[in-house]
């Protein structure tokens, strides 16, 4: 259990998908103009990462691995299967949410299709493979990674809401400032780098 908490903390703060690896930047920059929308997207990312990570783990280990069902190395199909799982999960989640909780759908719905092409999701799955996590570790990594991404997008959205009222040089307005801010937040997060999660 301690190991899992370690991985959660590590993936949420120290190896933050958004601010340490800069994954999922497209939607991160596009949907962080207000805290409200950022909140919705952040939740959706936690949700989808939490679901796809274990599924992709099962696929990678039991279907594609040399010790899997087919007993051959099928890892060359990894990209296709991973992205298909992500796309179909996103679609499934969209349908389920729409049916059973229209209010959640109204706040989350428009972000779900965006998530398919959010590299944090696919990146998370690929990192999971290269780090050779086991099943429960993969789940912890998925949830932690999602949570870290959620924190990061909320933080930048809050800053962007405020910075709207500042006197920024015209060419830097909007996008330029967003880049600069993300860079600085990334540096701040690098300060967490040496932390030993086992100390928690």
């Amino acid at each position: 259990m301690g190991d899992l908490i370690n991985i959660f903390i590590k993936s949420a703060f120290i190896e933050n998908l958004a601010l340490a690896y800069f994954l999922g930047m497209c939607s991160y920059l596009a949907v962080s103009k207000t805290v409200k929308t950022a909140f919705g997207l952040g939740l959706a990312v936690i949700f989808v990462l939490g679901i796809t990570m274990p599924i992709n783990w099962v696929i990678n280990t039991w279907l594609l691995g040399e010790n899997g069902v087919f007993q051959t190395d099928l890892t060359f199909l990894r990209f296709i299967l991973f992205i298909a799982v992500i796309a179909s999960m996103v679609q499934l989640v969209e349908m389920v949410v729409e049916k059973y909780s229209p209010s959640l759908y109204n706040s989350l719905g428009i972000f779900l299709p965006l998530i398919t092409v959010n590299c944090a999701i696919l990146g998370g799955s690929l990192f999971m493979v290269s780090k050779e996590y086991n099943f429960s570790e993969a789940v912890a990594f998925g949830l932690g990674g999602g949570f870290g991404w959620f924190l990061a997008i909320i933080a930048i959205a809050a800053i962007r809401e405020k910075i709207k009222y500042s006197d920024v040089p015209a060419p830097m307005r909007g996008l330029g400032m967003a880049f600069l801010l993300t860079g600085m937040m990334g540096m701040a997060f690098m300060g967490l780098m040496g932390i030993d999660p086992a100390a928690f």
Partner: protein, 231 residues
Amino acid sequence: MAETAVIEKKEAIKFGKKERKLLTDPLDDNNPITVQVLGICSALAVTTGMKNAMVMAVAVVFVCTFANVITSALRKAIPKQVRMIVQLVIIATLVTVVELTLKAYAFESYKQLSVFIGLIITNCIVMGRLEAFAMANRPYESALDGLGNGVGYGIILLMVAFIRELFGKGELFGYKLIGAAPEYMVNTLDSKWFGWYQGNNLMVLFPSAMFVIAVLIWVHRAWNPKLVDVS
């Protein structure tokens, strides 16, 4: 749909003003990175050195062009309901082709780029062009559009990598150009020009890519004021 089909048949394959615009637009007015803000992730991770940036740029140009052509050729057959997944499968296939080829013929680059090759799949430029252009246009125009966007992306990638590698390590493509080496290096690597220059470690780290792109956006928008964010 029927009308556009008729018009398409009349138009011969040619390279005129419109086609040139398809190719040059993404280089400036509609640049994928600095204007459309697509495909940032890989722009940051692989730009520590020119060599990796070059491999990545070529890979993206390849994937972008061919994904556009294939999707465009299949555009009438692709069922609307599964459009997204079909597009993703096409992209993922091309990316796997790139990965397998790199692994066979450029193993060092393959090792260094690691998971970031896979992330071309979710490089929003590719997906965005399929959805916005290839689904509605002929393969020939789509090829030009894909090529233009791939190159527009690659140029920014190389610019960022140039700045980061030169000021971060004083090297280009791995060759030492400026600055002296740290003390324990003195006997092994010659210092070239500007011996007083100390490599700036910040430039090597991820966040610096953000700063470099921010400055590029600044310069780009100051030079091309119609892109300035008015909101």
